[in-house]
Amino acid sequence: MTTVDQPAPARVREDNYLTAGYGWKSWFLTVDHKRIGILYLLSLTGFFFVGGLFAVLLRLELLTPEGDLFQSETYNKLFTMHGIFMIFFFLVPSIPTTLGNFFLPLQLGARDLAFPKLNLLSWYIFLAGGAFTIYAMLSGGVDTGWTFYTPYSSTYANSHVIAAALGIFVTGFSSILTGVNFIATIHKMRAPGLTWFRLPLFVWSLYATSLIMVLGTPVLATSILLVFIERAFGIGIFDPARGGDPILFQHLFWFYSHPAVYIMILPGMGVVSEVVSCFSRKRIFGYRIVAISSLAIALLGFLVWGHHMFVSGQSIYAGMAFSLLSMLIALPSAVKVFAWSATLYKGSVSFETPMLYALGFIGLFTIGGLTGIFVATLGFDVHVHDTYFIIAHFHFIMVGGMVMAFLGGLHFYWPKMFGRRYPEGIAKVCSVVVFVGFNLTFLPQFLLGYLGMPRRYHAYPEEFQVLNVLSTAGASILGVGFLIPMLYLLWSLKFGAKSYGNAWNAKGMEWELAATPPIAHNFTEVPTWTDEAHDYSKLTPTTEETPSHAT
């Protein structure tokens, strides 16, 4: 219908969502999904740096084989709090609650999410959960590992398990409500003409993510609640001395926490699809299959949790079933990886910061995913389970994958969100610093793991030192690489070049129809949209030659 084929005119809007109200009330009581997205962004950044600080302390301790910097008790609390903050308070909500919150309605042509008040409530619940956890941290910390394995967590630990468990329980509901909100929005708030197979891939990935949030998180709530009850009321649930079964906890925990790793990667894959498509000026290769592969990952993701329990005392037959199903997740993942690569073919590829992050994502996710297949291989996992090999596997996906995708997405959407550009040159340099620092940190850990260094070790045998020093060196570079973007992004809010148009000549309703920055209710009237997703085929040479920095 009346869709726009060329970039929207550079409308200078001063009446955008940022200027729609001032004062703390206009932020803390807002029901505007865009403002809520920014509230999340701020809180998540805080949690990330707290988690990052813990990581730095971990790496410092591991410089030397002796446990000389911290007491072992402190070290145990450090990695626990690192894991808890990074997973539950940063990576799980990362892209969905920030970029997802901000752009989902814009990509759907809706004025808001289906339940705006619920959206705000989710953020408050998230903060409440954070408050409990911060309380647990300040009052002495938790030392159970982020996995809360029983009976250690339920009976033996004498740290602040109750507060931390409560924090995670509460935060879980924030996640669930976000998922419910997204599902209802995607089903019922699409603009006229926007059929399922015209949805941007980011929306598909958020939909798959939301399904996992809704169907998986409650089981985490159950498992954590049971630990909480056992500790708070002293009744026996997982305590073997009272007839309990500690392995049951692991089933319940991983029923959520494996699917949760796809909460932590699918949105990143969505962002990468947007970015790769935009910067190679092409629709993603095999759009439909890529869209459906997100759902396939979400579904398969629920069938494999026992691969964390191969040597836990789980039956070997169950182990074999779980291993086989884990292998199958390689297929939808392969579809995505190869589709991104194939999209580059005969494209018009440019290398702005978001694209650098996206390309980095593809490489590092592939390594992380392949090593995921390694550890899903039964005979191999017996040896590397609970060693640094696992640590390296998941940091490759979570830091090399998701954090990179998050940074890429943030740079990609920054001009749209704030109407300001970040400094491109320094940003590119930083993305390379992150890539180098990252590999230096985590590649050595694969070797450490195979050599047999167990995880959660505060002191270790001397022969592991060289690799640990390398890893710590890498982590320092990585830390710098993460710190600088925060500084220049903040700087750009005030001093960045103005960007009132379609910063990247990108396709999609959020770029072509919404103002920059978007107005309070997104669209003055509900648009009709009949374009295919990521449809870059209609580019004309003139629009193409506009250097993407021009604003």
């Binding site: 004025r111 419910v180 019922k188 409650p218 159950t222 007839g243 079964d245 319940l252 029923f255 509900v526």
Partner: protein
């Protein structure tokens, strides 16, 4: 009902929806997604129940014999009544009869209250019998050793269920007031419908809790 132009000013239609139908369907989808969540939440606990029953069959049989089936059966009936009244409340709202809907909701809340009182009486009996794990645990000699596990689950599951009921009653107050104010009508009764869905779900949980706790060892007792 509402003419299209009036939709903009209609207080029962949130600003970001295009039509009551959209609002209705979005809320319905949202609620069902939420209920799927609830299924999994209780599902985890039912799984724990199943596993422990598999590991300690005797304790569960003995345990069920120490529960009073009279309370259980009465409470089941009470909940079924409350489900009926709730269904009728939704029906009244569908027909635009606000006062009637509020009345039915009140009836439902009353039934919920009765249920909770009976549950409370039951809990206090357990207290006197020394069957509350950790707090008052001194079961009679002959009981099975893992009885404590059974009771842990009895209290966790019925407790969580009761909490859901209390939340439900609180929601009923809100919806009843809105119903009295005439907020609901044939094209706009989703608020009552959603409350109803929640309440019926609470009933569903009990439908399974009842045989699993009260009845499973009856034939031996």
């Amino acid at each position: 009902m509402q003419p299209e132009t009036a939709a903009q000013h209609d207080p029962t239609l949130a600003h970001h929806f295009e039509s009551h139908r959209q609002q209705h369907e979005a809320s319905l989808v949202g609620m069902w997604a939420f209920l799927a969540q609830e299924v999994m939440f209780f599902g985890g606990m039912f799984l724990a129940y199943t596993v422990y029953r598999h590991l300690h069959p005797e304790a569960f049989v003995v345990g069920s014999l120490t529960l009073d089936p009279v309370y259980g059966t009465i409470n089941t009936a009470v909940l079924i009544v409350s489900s009926l009244t709730m269904a009728l409340a939704v029906r009244s709202a569908q027909l635009g009869r606000g006062k009637q809907a509020a009345l039915w909701i009140g009836g439902t809340a009353l039934a919920a209250g009765i249920f909770l009182v009976i549950k409370g009486v039951e809990y206090s009996h357990k207290y006197h019998d020394g069957l509350i794990p950790n707090f008052a645990w001194h079961p009679s000699e002959t009981s099975a050793p893992s009885l404590e596990i059974f009771y842990s689950f009895y209290f966790v599951l019925t407790g969580t269920h009761a909490l859901h009921m209390i939340v439900g009653v609180a929601l009923m107050a809100v919806v009843a007031i809105r119903a009295l104010r005439g907020r609901y009508g044939p094209s706009n009764y989703i608020g009552v419908e959603v409350l109803g869905l929640y309440w019926h779900f609470v009933d569903l949980v009990w439908i399974f809790l009842f045989p699993l706790f009260y009845l499973l060892g009856r034939h031996l007792g």
